[in-house]
């Protein structure tokens, strides 16, 4: 299904992409957005869009200000293990098991890689 949707999109968007010229110019305000921002060039857009969901409970970029565990700074393998254990009911949770079951193993890998990569990128 996902593949079909993507291909529908590709067909529809070829003209848009060709015509718009894909220009991206640095804005004067660029310095202002200092938060870790992985540009669309660097990341798998699927990983990004999956990972954005997590921030609603775990904080922007996984930097939690509440009781939910933050995962900024955690490695991709660590996050993947945790998510897989939630998914397979091997780790206790109130709601994480219910969420983790909504993602394929591949999607869990994409999410773990996104946050793992985000932390690594900023520690360079």
């Amino acid at each position: 299904m996902v593949k079909k949707i993507t291909s529908w999109l590709s067909v529809g968007l070829i003209s848009a992409a060709a015509l718009s010229g894909c220009e991206t110019q640095t804005s004067e305000k660029q310095g202002a957005a200092q938060q870790a921002s992985a540009s669309a060039e660097d990341v798998d857009p699927r990983g990004e869009i999956l990972a954005l969901s997590c921030a609603s409970c775990h904080g922007t970029d996984g930097k939690s200000v509440g009781i939910m565990p933050g995962f900024y700074g955690k490695s991709a393998p660590y996050l993947k293990t945790a998510l897989m254990e939630f998914k397979n009911d091997e780790r206790y949770s109130t709601v994480m098991g219910r969420h983790a079951k909504g993602y394929t193993d591949e999607e869990i890998t994409l999410i773990a890689d996104y946050f793992g990569g985000l932390s690594q990128q900023n520690s360079k």
Partner: protein, 430 residues
């Protein structure tokens, strides 16, 4: 609410979305700088503020103007906690300082008066005109006061508050509860589906009962519902029996619950089973898309806005994305969480469209926490994906707090409800 798409409809939507992106680049809009793309966002709530922030985060070269009349936005989530005496108004107020200073978003505290879809322009109440490459409309809900005889905005503001937009009416309802005579009843009258925050009226009943139990032990809550069933019904009912036995009475629509008229002078509501009197009367009227969305012609016959489920771009006006309570988002409820999730997907889509790239397939999520009591939380969660049936919730995932959850789990859920509020507030308003 869920919309059936045929593959052909779906294809049409996708192509319409793509055509919109070309128009966005070559249409009437004149960006501030020749090559700088400009996005205008109407509405600084859960949907709009999320979109504004995440556009800047994902592509700082795009300039963003957020149009929101309020300098402090009061969140509907946790406003029930204020009514129950667990929080104060200041605890649920969010400002735009961080979005301005850390994310470089231009915030204009004015009302958007008019959208000119053909010319890619938004006119503000003060007369200023904003050009956009893409517009995001996130105006929340509007109320259909006419659906209930005798009810009006004026009555809501003074005698029978809906308190379904957090702000002055939240304070009015809280004050009325405090001043109510012990022994009088609180009436809560929720509307039929679809409406904002499906578990909201029932969390409200819970936290008001919690307040009454301590402060007005001879009073109770009567829910006069237009519906036959409600969100998290089993969990709420179980919690009510445990925490507030006899203090909350729920009447289904067909059992005299549905109200047809109100009499503010007598403080009564009319039902099929006769008039019911309350010391406090909370009427939550039927709802529709925010006013500006309707005026801009973004709504269909349902009163809500049809959108391309990949980009949330209107299927009526290309170049305009409608998110949050106003849009028709398949299986997703009208919640702040859902609006924020849609806002992020829309931000990512807009960034890619402005770069001439293909948007990624959406992944959407929702969690609604409700407090039955201060240490008794319940939740419903779902993960959503796009299929040819539109946005559907993924089978085998999500769902409710288990009916047999023990006290420790329910207490943890209450703790996580607070944690969620702290993090989503930070994730949206910084």
């Amino acid at each position: 609410m869920s919309q059936k798409f045929t593959r052909r409809d779906f294809n049409k939507l996708v192509i319409a979305g793509a055509a919109g992106s070309t128009l966005g680049v070559f249409g009437g809009a004149k960006p501030l700088f020749a090559s700088q793309k400009h996005v205008v966002v109407i509405g600084g709530g859960f949907g709009g503020a999320s979109t504004a922030k995440y556009i800047r985060k994902l592509d700082p070269s795009v300039s963003v103007t957020l149009v929101e009349p309020a300098t402090t936005f009061y969140t509907c989530p946790f406003s029930n906690w204020v009514m129950g005496g667990l929080k104060e108004m200041k605890d649920i107020g969010r400002t735009y300082d961080v979005l301005k200073s850390a994310y470089g978003i231009e915030v204009i505290h004015e009302e958007a008066a008019e959208i000119d879809a053909a010319n890619h322009t938004v006119k503000l109440k003060g007369g200023q005109e904003l050009k956009y490459d893409r517009l995001v409309v996130s105006p929340g809900i509007d109320f259909d006061y006419d659906a209930i005889e005798g009810y009006s905005e004026e009555v809501a503001n003074t005698q029978m508050p809906h308190a379904y937009k957090a702000g002055p009416q939240t304070e009015l309802l809280t004050k009325q509860l405090q001043e109510m005579k012990d022994g009088d009843n609180v009436l809560i009258c929720p509307p039929g589906n679809p409406f904002r925050c499906p578990p909201g009226p029932y969390e409200r009943a819970s936290l008001i009962a919690n307040y009454l139990k301590k402060n007005k032990p001879n009073s109770k809550v009567v829910i006069l519902d237009a519906k036959e069933k409600f969100s998290k019904q089993g969990l709420f009912t179980k919690g009510w029996e445990k925490l507030y036995p006899g203090l909350i009475e729920w009447r289904a629509g067909s059992a005299g619950g549905k109200i047809t008229a109100v009499d503010p002078a007598a403080m009564t509501v009319q039902t099929s089973a006769g008039p019911v009197k309350g010391g406090v009367v909370n009427v939550i009227p039927p709802q529709r898309a925010g006013k500006i969305a309707a005026e801009a012609g973004l709504t269909n016959e349902t009163g809500w806005c049809p959108v391309n489920p990949i980009t949330f771009e209107s299927t009526i006006h290309p170049g305009i994305h409608v998110i949050g309570d106003s849009c028709i988002a398949g299986a997703m409820p009208k919640s702040g969480f859902a609006a924020s999730s849609q806002g992020k997907v829309t931000a990512a889509s807009i960034v890619r469209l402005l770069q001439g790239k293909v948007p990624a397939p959406p992944s959407l999520v929702n969690t609604c926490y409700s407090l039955v009591g201060p240490g008794y939380g319940i939740s419903v969660a779902a993960v959503y994906k796009l299929t040819s049936d539109g946005i559907v919730s993924i089978k085998g995932a999500g769902g409710l707090t288990p009916m047999d959850a023990d006290d420790d789990q329910l207490s943890e859920e209450a703790t996580y409800a607070r944690g969620w509020y702290n993090n989503i507030s930070q994730d949206i308003w910084g």
